[in-house]
Structures are given as structure tokens and as C-alpha cells.
Subunit: 556 residues, 2 copies
């Protein structure tokens, strides 16, 4: 059975029932149909939130074999609920681009899914669209200001950093020239489109604490310079009020349910390779206000999502996770050990052993934040007893717990061992254990270096001429105190996606550094990283269909 | 009080109450919060619909003075309900672009508004976003196919007609070059962006009869040619299934309420100057299935929205309106008579008389469809008794009823006279009276000519070289049987926006002819018409704001 077939076979509970389970009066919900609802921000209770145990799920470096970080997060929450705990899972919203491209949806898999999967994977409650519209409104206001004779800030069109965004994998929009057609049509200039998940507005939505903080951050967005070198921000264009108005509903977290009828909060959807990669602060705090345990995920490998979660989000919002679940699969570790994609079903203790250093590095990284990691082995039918034994021996030697999780096939029942380990670990930890990797106040070069060396395992950082000019600009703008949000391939600990396992002795190449003054971080773009994906030769869209009764097929 | 202040002062009824008023079980609704809901298509009942009286509200040629066609439509529905009739108003959804530009919202005004106005004017239930995403997915698939080595239809990039769309007034996107950056980034080509309301997908959504018809029309969208001159359609790219999937919710009409708590169905939002300008067929049929009277509007002046409503939508969906309400204001007629914008508060029987021929022409046009027109004089405080008398005398001489409607200030109470006239007229009409202006099977040139001469009052039609080449292509593609959807300025009966009143002896200049093979019409683009608006020097966005409690200001 495919994911969508499994999902369709579930009889969904009304969202009111799910809400009541975590003490929400259904009257407080803003319904989007029977199975989705927005949660008002006044349900957030900082005192209650500070007592909830925050569990961060991350993973080894992802491979085409699949790791299932979201699936593990959902399954772990089912397991905790099965053990009688009050627990909520808090996740990111999927981006439409990859749904029609190559990656497919992002709502878990098998018996560990959030539902209704087709709605969550498509428009959901419109949050991405709202971000896209607010982002592109600012772009239109900028070009309009450049064009206008009577309301003109003297912006030098060549310095404008603000691009446009669309939630579609459309490589032809990466580099464009706009404003063609003559004097009535605009001022021609080079610019481009990023995918919506990479929008600074997505980052702002994910980091803001309330509507007023949102508006404040929107106003601080850096646009470019005037001809006399004065920096221009969104507030200079009086754009932040209209933009915040467009985000009035998007700021509210969304409530849905898992296959086993447990509450799931889904909100915000930045990618961890090109953005900060974790759901909104408001959703995390919402989850923590409503349950004793809050399971959340940080995108892609721990080197990207995990590091950013801890250094940016946790420092920004004063969150303190107490355990890190590191998702690994035997298939993926074999791939890291050099096995080819078509060999992953074949038992290969040798390839597995060769791939273990990738897991080892992510475990070491977790410990650098003084948080206990637990390995979750996301089980596949092709895994052999010998292979499982190898990982368990490896974990034992390191003094780290490893739990087999069969959540794809068994849902919560498949996560009992993992959930039990998590509960046990939490009994021996404290939220005061957490310490960040760096202080925001350190120099930019130091912050980048500590991530590159300590987390990625590189030997040094190389800055292009453009990146050096960007550094100078950051200093001039007084933004050196901002934390670092790396844009790096998720496929390798290095910036070269072909280097699997645990690469060493590599240089991290910083091509340029984008400024996200509103979100409040700097984005070194490394290697060949693109902030607008492309479609594969045969996009997933070719197989997606809907019949006359509205039944969707081909979503996975 | 501003419109948003009036709107916010209303205590809204739960949408369940509104639904029950027209016999809908609340359980059948898909709620979007407490005050908006989508209606399932199975509520459409063709037999019941065929017995409902369809009332078309249109207007004289619009002026900066404001005519209030939507306000009259909403007020008339309030009036009919006040008179104890079962009546529903069916309207278009506002486009975000103009909300942040110059026009403001499109939810009526004063005491005749649909609510919640701020939600309807912003993202509403996401229909525009869904159209935008499905449209831009097709664009990405096209450029991806051109770029791909292994899945390539040999499309000649120079012939691709499919642009992208955004729901923002962004003139810098009218003409762009995409695909820059080298071999991995795409194939450079000229293209552009239209506003979402002008998307062929909006037209398709508005004309389709069900999900299967929607998908069929999506597949028929014309893209361009291969290098060996074979036409390429969306179905050749296997795009229609994914596009229809994205529109699965957008296809369902939306239910909201008016200030007086009467049902309003709002669905689809094409502009009448650049598209067909009327709400969806499904919404009209939904309204007609649920009430004895269905009030609907056709955008801008009757020459644009009215003609397209009758010749395209009514012929396509077998709808037969029985009365046309022509909205006029004394202010606007004075403007048509040559008065300056700042003189409209000053009584001027002379300017009014000079402006009446604009109204006269629209009345004559209505009669060409064998439908009885009624004049609705949308009252302003500056109107004098003498000026009102002049219109009434004018109407009397023509044998046409004219009713004063004070719906802005008084809501339904201000529409009693108008509603009474409408009911009286309907008692003497039959749905079999309606006859279209032309048959779809006539040659393209004839169809364009009959609109240009008979409706606009022009003397002839001039085709540019490009338009002539387009005509040839339409013939070669076997699409000559499609009806005509003119793109023409709304500000004049001619294609020159500076010619107010009733211009004559003019040539209609057809610049090019776009093909909307999926929607099923041809779009002659006349004069200087643009399908992507720009922002004014000081966009409305500068005054839009939201406070910490989520209260919006500056929307109008």
C-alpha cells in the first residue's frame, strides 16, 4: 500500500476531538474543514511551556535511501501517547515545490503519518501562500519605488538584494531580468526567484514571538542601498504593515492529527539546507503549552537542522531541548559506506561499518551541545539481524542508547522501545544542560569557522571575493552580531554533495553571504547551493491525478 | 465611518446560521473559521436552478467617481430578502493586487458589504493562490521540458505563449527574460507575468461544470509549437492531473454573509477588462439551486462584463438572466459629461445631461440581448433633486424603469424601491426571452466586429500585423469556433480610455489575439490594455496596518 492509500483508509476524527484531547475548547479553534484548524496564539502559556520536555529529532546526513526523520518524529509521538504520556508532535509544513518535483510529501510515511496528508501536502491552511504574497508585495513596492517619479527613495537598482519567491521548483526563474519594455514598464535589472521556503519571511514567521515582533522584523528587512550608499529597509517603504496584515492568519499554528488520532501541530516550513529548517517558535511553544512532552524535528542532517535549531532558534526563543533522537537507517549507512543505491537491499556488514562514521560524527556533534543523543534505527524489512547487531555494538561502545523503531509498519507500537528510552533519558537530564556552540556576539568569521570545523569537520573556510565584500557590508551595517544560518548541501557533512560518510580535510567554500536582517541571521552560501530547486526530467507531477469524485492518486 | 469600521461594528452570525437559512445542513459545510465555508458541489441541483430567477447587475462605463455595482448587488439582495423573498447574491472574489494598489477591496461599501470583508479581501479561502500555483506549475513544467535532455517534446521556446502569474500589481514583471545563468540554469527566453485574475486557469475555473470538465479544459491549454510546428497542449506535458489536484478545493464555491445576515456566495475572480469578468458557473448554479432569486454581477461596464456574461458564460452554461440592473451614479454621469473629478459634488444638470448617452448606450446594449434593463441610481449625498429628476425623465422617455437606491447608507432598506421594480419586471419576463449577440460558430472576424460595432459603437476594427498572424494561427489550430473575450479598457466604450460618454466613429485596434483553448475563448487585446497592472506612486499598502491585537486598518 502507498502512503496515500494507507492515509485514505484511516477514519479521521473530527479536529474538535483532537483539540479536546489536549485541553482545547473546540470553540477556540479556527476550523479549516473538519480535520484542520488554526490555534489562537493566546493558547500559548509560557509557564506551562517551560515545564514541557522538548525532544529534538534529527538524522544522519540524508541519502537517496531515505532516513525517515519525520516518520520517526510522528511514530515517537504515537509511542509516547501509547505509554500514557501527554505528548504532541510539532512539525514543519511541506513545501509544494518538492511535492511536484522529486521529494514527494513531508507528512511521514506508512503507519506514521499526519493527516489529512493530501491537504497538508498541498495548500494546507494557506501559510506558504501568505508568505509568498507578502514577500512579492515587497518586491513590487521596491520596483515601483525605483520606477516612480514622485515617491522615490533614490534606490540604486543594482544593489537591490530582495528577490521574489514562488513555491514551485522552477530553475528558469533563478536568474531573470525584470522591468523590460520601455519607460512605462519599469527599470530593467537583474534579479531572481527563490523557493518560498527560502524566503526571509518564512524565517521571520518561524522566529517571531507575536504579531508585533513579526511586524518589527518585517520592517528591518534589508533591501539595498540608495545611490548615496544609505541602506534601505522595508520600513523605509512603509511595507511592514501591509505585509503583517497578509500574515495575520499565517502566524497561527495549525492543528491536525496523526494516524492514531494524536495531536500534531504543523507550522512554518523552511528548508534546513537553505534556511533555518525548523518549524515556528510559536508552534513549539504551543506544543509545549499543551503537553508534557513535545517532539519536534530539525530538517535534514543534524549538521544543518540540528545546529541551526540549537544555535539560532533555541537561543532566540530560550528553548532548551533535553534529548536528541538521531534517526539512522541501515540502508542509508550502507550508502554512506560506499554501497550503490541498487545494492542497499543486499546485506553488507562491511558497507554498514564503513558508513558508521557519519552517524558517529552527528552523535559527537549532539554532545557538543551537552544534550544526550539517542539513536533511532528506522527499521526496513531488508535489515538483517547481523546489521542491527553491528549498530547496537557501535552504540554500546560509545555509551549511547540505540532503539529499533518500526514505526512505518507498526506506528506507535513500533516506537515503544524508542519512547521508553526517551522517557528514561529525560528522567536523567535537565533543561539547564544545554549549551550553544557559539555566542551570537562573536565575530562572523569565528562563528562560521566553529560551525565549519567543529560541526562539519572541515579544516578551514575559504571566502570568495564576493563573500569578502559581503562581510565588509555586514560590518558596515552593524549586523555582525547576528547568528549564522548556513546554506549547505544536506547530502554531505562537507559542501561537496559527492562526499558521503565522514569527510575530513576539506575546505568549506563560502560563495556569498546573504543578509536576513529581519529574520536576524546571516546566510553564508556554500559550495553549489541553490535557493531555487529545479524539476527532474520526469517530475512527480506527471503521476499525480484526481478522479471525478475528488480522489487523489500519485502523492507519496 | 470607513467601510472596514462599518464592517467591524457588525456582529457576525455563525456561518451555520447563514447556511441553514438557505436549507443547507451545517454538516455539509467545509468551514474556514466561523464565518466562511466552502460548499460541496453536490448541493447544485440543476432542476431547482432552472427555476430560479437570475438577475444580472452591471453598470455604466466606470469612472474614478465610483459607481458601486457590487454595492448595488449586495444591497439589492438585502432588499429582496427584506421583501420576504428567498434570494442569494453571487459575486466574484477580490484580487489582492488591487487591494494593495489603488482600487481597494471589492466587497461592497457602507451598509452593503459582504463579510468578513478583511478576510474576503485578503486570502479568503485560498482560491486565487491555488490558481496561481497550478498556473505556475505548468510554466515550470514547460521550461523544465525545454531544458531536459531525456524528456523533451522539442518545444520551440520562442513560441511558448504560457506566461506566469502573480496576484500583485507588479509592472516590472510584465516583460522579463528567464532562464539566465548558463547551461544548468535553463534556456533563456522572453516571457512575462500576468495578474492571477487574468490567468486562463481562472477562466477555466469560472466556466467549468465539474472536476472532470475542469481537468479536460486544463489538458486543452495551448502552450506553443514544437520546432516542426506541432501544437503542444498541457496534456502533452501530463500536467492536467496535478493542476486539477491543486484546484480540488478551489472548485468549490464559498459561502459568506452580508451585513444584514443574508447569504452571499463568492467564487472566482476574473477581471472584466482582461478576462471574462464574472464569478464561476458553479457559484451561479449553486445560488440558483438554493434560492428563488439569484443576484449576480458582471464586472465593470455592461460593454465588458455584461456582454461576456451573456455571450460566453450564459451560452456555455445555458444560463438565462431575466433582468439587467444597470448601475449608474449621478457623479459618474457628470464625469462622462465632461465634469472634472473635483467638480462632481457641484450640482450640474448640464454635465449630467451630457453624460447620459453613456447610460443610454448601455441600455441599448442590454436590449440587444432581449433582456429588460432597470436603472439603479446609486445615490450619493451630493445628488440634487433636480439631477435625479433628469435621470428619471430620461428613463421615462425610454420606457425604462429607474429606481433610486440608497444602499450605501441604508442597506436593504435603501433598496426596497429597486427590489420592488426587479420583482415586478420578473413577473413579466421569461427565461426564454434571452438571445445572444452572436453564435459561436460565426467567423472570428464577424464575432469581433459585431461586438465592436453593435456593443461598443465603433465604426470598424483594425488588426495589427501580429493580430493577423494570430488569426491565421487560430484558424490553423481549428479554434475559430470559440467565443470572444475582449481585453479592452473599462473606462471608455472605445479602446481609448480618454474618450468618456458615448464615443462614436472610432476604430477598435486589435493588437494581438491570445488563445485560451482550455477556457474556450479567444482574447483580442485592444488599445493599450495590460494584463498586469502597476502600483500607483503611493500604493494603498502604505496605509494598511495591523495592530498587536490583529485589528486591521487602511483596507477600504
Amino acid at each position: 500500500m502507498t502512503d496515500i492509500e494507507i492515509a485514505k483508509a484511516v477514519e479521521l476524527k473530527h479536529i474538535n476531538t483532537i483539540a479536546e484531547k489536549i485541553g482545547i475548547n473546540p470553540d477556540q479553534l479556527e476550523h479549516y474543514g473538519k480535520f484542520k484548524a488554526k490555534l489562537p496564539l493566546d493558547l500559548i502559556n509560557e509557564t506551562k511551556a517551560s515545564k514541557s520536555k522538548l525532544i529534538l529529532v534529527s538524522a544522519i546526513s540524508p541519502t537517496p535511501a531515505g532516513e525517515g526523520k519525520t516518520t520517526i518524529s510522528i511514530g515517537l509521538n504515537e509511542g509516547l501517547n501509547k505509554l500514557g504520556k501527554s505528548s504532541v508532535v510539532v512539525l514543519r509544513e511541506p513545501s509544494l515545490g518538492p511535492v511536484f518535483g522529486i521529494k514527494g510529501g513531508a507528512t511521514g510515511g506508512g503507519k506514521s503519518q499526519v493527516l489529512p496528508m493530501e491537504d497538508i501536502n498541498l495548500h494546507f491552511t494557506g501559510d506558504f501562500s501568505a508568505i509568498e504574497k507578502a514577500h512579492n508585495l515587497l518586491a513590487a513596492i521596491i520596483d515601483n519605488n525605483i520606477q516612480s517619479k514622485t515617491n522615490n527613495l533614490n534606490i540604486d537598482a543594482r544593489t537591490v538584494k530582495w528577490k521574489r519567491v514562488l513555491d514551485v521548483n522552477d530553475r528558469a526563474l533563478r536568474q531573470v531580468i525584470v522591468g523590460l519594455g520601455g519607460t512605462t514598464m519599469g527599470v530593467p535589472r537583474e534579479t531572481g526567484f527563490d523557493i518560498t521556503a527560502a524566503s526571509e519571511l518564512m524565517a521571520i514567521l518561524c522566529l517571531c514571538n507575536n504579531l508585533s515582533d513579526l511586524k518589527d522584523r518585517l520592517g528591518k528587512i534589508f533591501i539595498g542601498f540608495t545611490y548615496d550608499k544609505t541602506p534601505i529597509y522595508a520600513k523605509d517603504l512603509k511595507a511592514q504593515g501591509a505585509m503583517a496584515t497578509l500574515l495575520k492568519d499565517a502566524i497561527k499554528p495549525n492543528l491536525v492529527q496523526s494516524i492514531e488520532g494524536n495531536p500534531a501541530i504543523i507550522h512554518g516550513g523552511p528548508f534546513a539546507n537553505i534556511a533555518q529548517g525548523t518549524n515556528t517558535v510559536l508552534a513549539t511553544k504551543m506544543g509545549m503549552s499543551l503537553a508534557d512532552y513535545t517532539v519536534t524535528e530539525a530538517g535534514f542532517g543534524f549538521d544543518l537542522g540540528g545546529e541551526k535549531f540549537l544555535d539560532i532558534k533555541c537561543q532566540s526563543a530560550n528553548l532548551k531541548p533535553e534529548v536528541i533522537v538521531l534517526t539512522a537507517t541501515i540502508r542509508a549507512l550502507k550508502y554512506h559506506g560506499g554501497a550503490a543505491l541498487n545494492e542497499l537491499e543486499t546485506p553488507s556488514p562491511k558497507a554498514l561499518k564503513k558508513g558508521l562514521p557519519n552517524l558517529e560524527k552527528h552523535l559527537e556533534n549532539a554532545l557538543k551541545f551537552n544534550i544526550t543523543p539517542i539513536i533511532a534505527i528506522n527499521q526496513f524489512t531488508s535489515d538483517t539481524a547481523e546489521e542491527i547487531e553491528i549498530i547496537q555494538e557501535f552504540a554500546k561502545a560509545k555509551g549511547i542508547k540505540a532503539a529499533i523503531a518500526n514505526v512505518w509498519a507498526d506506528g506507535g507500537n513500533g516506537a515503544i522501545e524508542l519512547a521508553t528510552e526517551v522517557i528514561k533519558t529525560l528522567e536523567n537530564t535537565s533543561s539547564s544542560d544545554f549549551k550553544a556552540l557559539y555566542n551570537w556576539d562573536q565575530p562572523v568569521l569565528d562563528k562560521v569557522e566553529v560551525i565549519a570545523k567543529s560541526i562539519y569537520g572541515g579544516s578551514s573556510v575559504d571566502y570568495s571575493a564576493k563573500a569578502k565584500a559581503d562581510l565588509k557590508r555586514i560590518e558596515n551595517l552593524g549586523l555582525s552580531h547576528l547568528p549564522i544560518c548556513m546554506a549547505k548541501t544536506q547530502k554531505s557533512l562537507s559542501d561537496d554533495e559527492s562526499r558521503r560518510g565522514r569527510p575530513d580535510n576539506f575546505i568549506l567554500n563560502v560563495r556569498e553571504i546573504e543578509i536576513a536582517a529581519g529574520a536576524g541571521f546571516l546566510i553564508p552560501i556554500t559550495g553549489k547551493m541553490m535557493r531555487m530547486p529545479g524539476l527532474p526530467a520526469h517530475p512527480a507531477s506527471e503521476n499525480i491525478d484526481i478522479d471525478d469524485q475528488g480522489n487523489i492518486s500519485g502523492l507519496f
